[in-house]
């Protein structure tokens, strides 16, 4: 079993009228099956309202399933006694860094998590130091978080999760509010955690460029997984993705357009280097 596994996971949201009678049911997750191996870098795509964030919240036991099962690190999340251990093995980074930072000094913010799970003081400081250097923010440890840029704040939020030493981190659109530099910083940090520390990463994003370097991609729609495969396999299916309100990286789109105009370029181009090579070959 992988670090995250779901079997027919279902989540239903109920809308009730003033008397508490059920007015409408929205199925946010509809029999989702996935199996994530430890150490993988996974990306999840899908349009707004496709169920991505609902899935993410199940991994952290923030929601409980209407039906089906989810196991995190081998533990059944629906069991009451597993909730706290599950939250320790799976950390979460949200969209808006300002909603995740609570302390007035960077190092105290990063230490908040470990302090709450009763880590001894000496070890808290070790973890804080280690977490801040992992995200490249050690220099700012004594700064006030509100003077940092968006990308830096988001990295502090990531350090706060790293300090909990989770096996897996779920990033729910961590770059939606950042400028290009901030986006690069955050994505590079996620990849580094994955490569150097072997942390399993689940990245939810609307930026197709950020998906290119993932090991495996799941595409969601109406609470179902409708496509899965490597980034190259997924992005070869340009028109299908567009139907699902999604997109492909700009270079992939350009390669596709050129191919349609009769230029002999292979499908599934993902990077600028690949496209440059392909174009120079047909020159």
């Amino acid at each position: 079993m992988g670090i995250i596994k779901t079997k027919n996971l279902v989540h239903e949201f109920f809308r009730r009228d003033e008397e508490g009678n059920v007015e409408a049911i929205t199925t946010a997750l509809d029999h989702v099956n996935l199996d994530v191996k430890e150490g993988q870098f996974i990306a999840i795509l899908g349009h707004n309202g496709s169920g991505k964030s609902t899935l993410a919240k199940h991994i952290n036991a923030l929601l409980s399933a209407s039906d089906g099962t989810i196991w995190v690190d081998g533990m059944d999340v629906s069991q009451e006694e597993n909730v706290i251990p599950v939250r320790r093995s799976a950390g979460m980074v949200f969209q808006n860094p300002d909603n995740q930072i609570i302390a007035s000094v960077v190092e105290e913010d990063v230490g908040f998590g470990p302090e709450n799970i009763g880590v001894p003081t000496d070890e808290i400081w070790e973890r804080v130091e280690h977490a801040l250097s992992t995200v490249g923010m050690k220099k700012y440890r004594a700064h006030s978080p509100n003077k940092l840029s968006g990308g830096q704040k988001q990295r502090v939020a990531i350090a706060g999760v790293v300090a909990m030493e989770p096996k897996c981190i779920v990033f729910d659109e961590p770059t939606a509010m950042l400028d290009p530099n901030g986006r690069k910083e955050v994505i590079a940090t996620a990849h580094e955690l994955n490569k150097k520390k072997g942390v399993t990463i689940l990245l939810i994003t609307h930026y197709m460029e950020e998906v290119v370097a993932a090991d495996y991609v799941y595409v969601m729609e109406k609470g179902k997984i409708i496509m899965d495969g490597t980034p190259r396999e997924i992005f070869s299916r340009v028109s299908e993705l567009k139907e699902h309100r999604l997109d492909v990286p700009q270079v992939t789109l350009l390669a596709d357009e050129l191919r349609k105009s009769g230029v002999d370029i292979p499908a599934g181009i993902l990077t600028r280097e690949e496209l440059v090579d392909a174009i120079m070959k047909v020159k």
Partner: protein, 282 residues
């Protein structure tokens, strides 16, 4: 008819130890009916600048002229200015509060003191203009998707009949199709209603595709202005200040280095396709 920003400087907490100079002698002109993009890294002064344009912030020094009138004149009616220059803040859907979408859109015109019939006409027209589905007009806004909520919020500003519409990152957090819909809508409003659009964005690809002219902010100063292709020629300098050019620009430079004779000014997928096909002799 235009907006002229003349040597505007602005300091936050001017008389305290925490003084921050957010704008330094910024001068620029925005003509009627233009689609303007403003880019700059976080903290470069973009949001401070746009809040000056409808008088939410008052410059520490310098002047702003709207249609030839100094908005800092004692007898200038700032309320009137705010009716003409509409502002859509980041995550505008967080500002929806009424019981139905229609009621929410009515809020702005209601505060302009219009009569009931005119208010409802405008709300109807505005929701139509943002292509909001009619069967949802009288539903509560809270069950809508992110993109739809954002349409309602934009309609709320449109219903006030602004001459200028300022939007602070209107596509943040939207899926690619939602993003294209909102940007396409803005381009259409510019074209059909003649509204001046000012768009603050972090997406170089989006501004390259849609805007007529770009302003690049850096450290509170105006660093570059011009058509996207002119601005993105400075892609190396843009990177140094935490920005970037569209992916296509980099691709063009790499192809040129390898000896393919492409047009370096191509910034959109379509332009790139044309110049590559031409260079390959197809």
């Amino acid at each position: 008819m235009s907006i002229i920003v003349d040597k505007v400087s602005y300091c936050y907490s001017e008389d305290s130890a925490y003084k921050v100079q957010a704008l330094k002698e910024v001068s620029l002109t925005i003509e009627d009916g233009e689609f303007i993009g403003i880019i700059g890294h976080t903290g470069s002064g973009k949001s401070t600048l746009i809040q000056h344009l409808n008088g939410l912030l008052k410059a520490t020094s310098g002047h702003i002229y709207y249609n030839g009138q100094d908005i800092y004149d004692e007898d200038y009616n700032l309320k009137d200015l705010r009716n003409k220059v509409g502002m859509v803040f980041q995550y505008p859907e967080h500002q929806l509060f009424e019981t139905t979408n229609f009621e929410d859109v009515c809020f702005g015109p209601k505060n302009q003191g219009l009569d009931k019939k005119e208010i409802e006409l405008r709300a109807f027209e505005a929701l139509r203009n943002v292509h909001f589905p009619e069967e949802l007009f009288y539903q509560p806004p809270f069950d809508l998707s992110g993109g739809q909520k954002r349409r309602v919020a934009i309609a709320g500003v449109l219903a006030m009949h602004p001459e200028v519409l300022i939007l602070d990152e209107p596509t943040a957090g939207l899926d690619p199709a939602g993003r294209d819909e909102i940007l396409g809508l803005l381009a259409q409003m510019k074209r059909e209603l003649g509204i001046t659009i000012i768009l603050v964005s972090h997406s170089m690809e989006d501004v390259a595709e849609y805007v007529d002219r770009l302003f690049v902010m850096n450290g509170g100063e105006l660093m570059y202005e011009g058509a996207p292709k002119d601005v993105f020629r400075h892609y190396k300098e843009l990177e140094e200040v935490g920005l970037a050019a569209p992916q296509v620009t980099y691709l063009m430079h790499e192809l040129k280095e390898k000896g393919l004779n492409v047009d370096l000014d191509a910034t959109t997928v379509d332009e790139a396709k044309q110049t590559i096909l031409a260079a390959l002799g197809r």
